[in-house]
Structure formats: structure tokens, C-alpha cells
């Protein structure tokens, strides 16, 4: 595939990449720059594309650009809430250690509240939830994040548990469950 052909096909994913970038960076200008840089790098490394799944390949590049340009420079890295799962607590977030079986508030949350809760997560947690939301399979997510499939499963489970905790912060008092303590400030 020529660079130009790849570029033209990559344009079909501009909306998905921008949507993802906007939630990764939390800002429109940063998101635009991240997408642009992703395309620059994708065009520059078109010869390495194996022809398998262009969208996943582009997301993988965006992930690396984000780590390079944003998390290291412009944004202080959020403390990784998921690092623990790569160690002994590999089953955190699953059955026995499930920290948060609190229900979501029984209300219809507006999108801005969900976005705010996502934004309060670490980059790692937010990324894996967004990739899952984008429709990638766990195998594809493992390819994007360059980690084992088992790690994806446990990280996703843990990230969703953390998101549930964050979402509890947005519940109005009346909507909290009977035992309803809030999950944060």
C-alpha cells in the first residue's frame, strides 16, 4: 500500500481518532494536535503497516504519540491506578477483591458527568475504557497497548470498577443507595 493510499484510507478514521484524542487530552486544541501528529507519523511509517487493521494501527500510533508528546511534557502524568494489577494483585477488580459493587445512581446521568468521571481517571484507565468503547476486541486492545491479553482483561475490569467509583461522586444525595456513602469529595 502506498503512503498516499494509506493516507486516504486513514482519513476515514479521522472522526474516531479525534473523538478519542479529545477524551484523552481533555481539550480540543490538544486533541487536534494529537490527531495531526498521529497522521504525520502514520504517513511517515506507512511502509511498516502490515495491512491487517488500519484503525487499530492508527490508534496504536496515537497512543505512542500521546505518551511522547502529552503525558511526558504538557500534562503531569496521573498516578496510575492500574499498575497494581500487573503485580501480585492481578485479580484486583474481579470477584474476590471487587472494590466497588456499588450501583450507579439510579438516574440518567448527562454525558458531561460521565466525561468528567472519565477525565478523573488515570490515563491508563481512561485509555482502556475508551478503546473498549470504540469497539476494539480485547485482542486488538492488547495490540494497541502492547501488552498481554490477560493484562487487558484485568485492566479493563479494574478500570471500570474505578469509573464506577468516580461516577458515584455525581449522584445527588437522594439518588444514593440506602447505604449510600459517597465515593469521594
Amino acid at each position: 500500500m502506498t503512503r498516499h493510499t494509506l493516507g486516504r484510507e486513514a482519513l476515514a478514521h479521522a472522526d474516531a481518532l479525534y473523538n478519542h484524542a479529545r477524551r484523552l487530552t481533555g481539550g480540543e486544541a490538544d486533541a487536534e494536535e494529537l490527531v495531526q501528529e498521529t497522521y504525520v507519523r502514520a504517513l511517515g511509517s506507512a511502509h511498516t503497516f502490515d495491512g491487517a487493521y488500519l484503525k487499530a494501527w492508527l490508534f496504536k500510533i496515537m497512543r505512542n504519540v500521546f505518551v511522547d508528546l502529552y503525558r511526558r511534557g504538557r500534562h503531569a502524568p496521573a498516578l496510575s491506578e492500574l499498575d497494581v494489577i500487573d503485580g501480585d494483585a492481578a485479580h484486583a477488580g474481579t470477584h474476590r477483591n471487587q472494590p466497588a459493587l456499588a450501583r450507579l445512581p439510579p438516574i440518567v446521568m448527562v454525558a458531561s458527568e460521565i466525561e468528567a468521571a472519565l477525565g478523573a481517571l488515570s490515563d491508563e484507565a481512561r485509555t482502556i475504557i475508551l478503546l473498549d468503547l470504540e469497539g476494539f476486541t480485547e485482542t486488538e486492545v492488547a495490540g494497541v497497548l502492547e501488552c498481554p491479553l490477560g493484562t487487558v482483561k484485568s485492566r479493563l475490569s479494574r478500570a471500570r470498577a474505578l469509573l464506577r467509583e468516580k461516577l458515584k461522586d455525581y449522584a445527588p444525595p437522594a439518588a444514593l443507595p440506602d447505604d449510600g456513602r459517597r465515593g469521594g469529595a
Binding site: T2, E32, H47, T48, T94
Partner: protein, 296 residues
């Protein structure tokens, strides 16, 4: 399946990724296990919450920059470059030895190599693309390129319309009426879009989203006209080159009408804001809507 195995599959169940067989096994377990059933409900609630997140289309300005970037690779050496030529270009561009995709799967780049990213060798097509990017970076977002074509505001509005109608998720707020849509823009725009029309049987209001016209945010509202979609853009007009075509009165408005690529575009200003209506319906229909949007 015991509880532990089921719990490991609840996320996949919630996002619809379990195969038929596994789904049936999990379902059998859930019938008899209240604790796992509750956990499954929680995962389903979370998935439903995430599904409510709006998807935002890439702004027109960004899309055009990407298109220019890709177009630059179509130059003679760009479309037919061999892998070795490409790697050589890349090495030249970054100042690093040629190697396969150093940023994909390799160690992150250093600040020095990132700075080197923008050194433009003039001999390669990719350099041309990078040069375009450099030029654009120096102008974005504070100093958008000066518009030379006076009718290109029409093209901008048309591109926005096309992006909206081809988007999988064009609406960030679905309409329950203008009183639901207008407040949604509060805090998302630097101005309050003045739209009095809440839709009717002729032009039902579908909803809204935030878009861009040039360098500024715009309120985007979608109306329906029979089977056609009509896009309304509301944006501040300061600094934009207004089409020079003669305006003609439509109700109390002075409206510029233009046609491009089979679409009709109406532009007018009112109360310090600019309005653009774009659709493939005929101009008379758009005039009817314009009058309803800005009544006497």
C-alpha cells in the same frame, strides 16, 4: 461455571462480546446466583452510561489539514516511494538511523528527536507534507489563514453540513424542543445562539452539536425537511470574509443565496451573529426556515 469464572466474563457480557455458548452458560449461572446477577446489572448500567457519551466529529479545520497532509503524499515521489526510500526519508527527517517505525512498539522518542521532526528536507514528498504542517502549525489556532476567496465561507458551511450528515453520531444533544437544545449550548460556546424557532411539522428540530466555522466554534442545529437534512450554523461573524453576492430581502433579513455542488446555502446576519442554512432542498424551503428562525 462458578462465580469467579462468571465474574471474569461480566464485562464481556455487558459489552456484548460473549459468544452464544458462553453467554448461555453465564445466563444459567445468573439465574441461580443473586450476587453475580447484581454484579452483572452493575456492569450493564455502566455500559449503558458509557454508550450515552456523544461522539464528536473532527472539526472541519482539522480535517482540511489532514487532507492537505495526505494530498501532499500524492506528489510523484510520494505515491510510489519504496520502503527503503521512505525509511531513508524518515531517517533524514528525524536525524536518526533508519529503522522500522521507531515510535510504534519502540522506545519513545526523545525531546531532541521530536524537535528534529520538523526539519524539512526539500527533496521528499513527505517533507512537503511536513512543510504544509509546519506552516499550518504556525498559524493555528490564533491566526487562521487569511481567506482570499470571498465565497469560501459558503464552502466552509457546505463542508460542515457534509461532515454532519455523513457522521455516524451527528448530534450531541437530541431534541426535545428548542428549550432543551438551547440551554445545552451554555458553557460550550462563547456566545448564546439566538434561535426562536423550536421546529414544527414542516421543519422538525432533530437536535444540536458544537461545530466549527473557520477558527471559531459554531452552534450546529439539524432540522428535517421531508427526507432531507438541513444544517443551521450560528457563529460570530467578526473577521470572516462575507460573500460579495448581492443580498436580497427574505422577511426582514438580508440573505445571500449561493449554490455549490448541488447544495443550497443561505447566509445572513442578525443581532451580531451570522447564520448559515445548508441543504439539498430548494432555496424557497430554506427561505421559509430562515424566516421562522429569525421572525419579525
Amino acid at each position: 461455571m462458578d462465580c469467579e469464572v462468571v465474574r471474569e466474563r461480566l464485562v464481556a457480557l455487558a459489552v456484548g462480546r460473549l459468544g452464544v455458548g458462553e453467554r448461555a452458560e453465564v445466563a444459567r449461572h445468573l439465574e441461580g446466583c443473586a450476587a453475580c446477577r447484581r454484579a452483572a446489572e452493575i456492569e450493564a448500567e455502566l455500559s449503558a452510561a458509557l454508550d450515552r457519551l456523544p461522539r464528536v466529529a473532527a472539526p472541519g479545520t482539522l480535517r482540511r489539514r489532514l487532507e492537505q497532509l495526505v494530498a501532499a503524499t500524492a506528489e510523484p515521489s510520494g505515491g510510489t516511494a519504496t520502503a527503503s526510500e521512505t525509511r531513508s526519508d524518515e531517517a533524514h527527517r528525524t536525524g536518526e538511523p533508519a529503522r522500522a517505525a521507531p515510535w510504534v512498539g519502540g522506545a519513545p522518542r526523545t525531546a531532541e528527536t521530536r524537535r528534529g521532526l520538523w526539519m524539512p528536507p526539500l527533496v521528499s514528498a513527505f517533507a512537503a507534507a511536513a512543510l504544509v504542517l509546519v506552516v499550518m502549525r504556525t498559524t493555528r489556532p490564533d491566526a487562521p489563514p487569511r481567506e482570499k476567496d470571498p465565497s469560501s465561507l459558503v464552502g466552509e458551511a457546505l463542508n460542515d453540513h457534509l461532515r454532519v450528515i455523513t457522521s455516524t453520531h451527528p448530534l450531541e444533544i437530541e431534541s426535545g424542543g428548542i428549550h432543551q437544545v438551547k440551554p445545552w449550548f451554555t458553557g460550550r460556546l462563547e456566545f448564546a445562539p439566538r434561535v426562536a424557532f423550536s421546529g414544527d411539522d414542516d421543519f422538525p428540530l432533530l437536535g444540536g452539536s458544537v461545530g466549527y466555522v473557520r477558527d471559531r466554534k459554531a452552534a450546529v442545529m439539524l432540522f428535517k425537511r421531508r427526507l432531507h437534512t438541513v444544517t443551521l450554523l450560528v457563529f460570530p461573524p467578526e473577521g470572516l470574509d462575507w460573500p460579495r453576492a448581492e443580498a436580497r430581502p427574505v422577511g426582514r433579513l438580508a440573505v445571500v443565496e449561493e449554490a455549490a455542488r448541488g447544495f443550497n446555502v443561505l447566509l445572513w446576519k442578525d443581532g451580531g451573529l451570522a447564520y448559515a442554512l445548508v441543504s439539498d432542498v430548494n432555496p424557497r424551503d430554506l427561505e421559509l426556515l430562515a424566516v421562522r428562525l429569525n421572525p419579525q
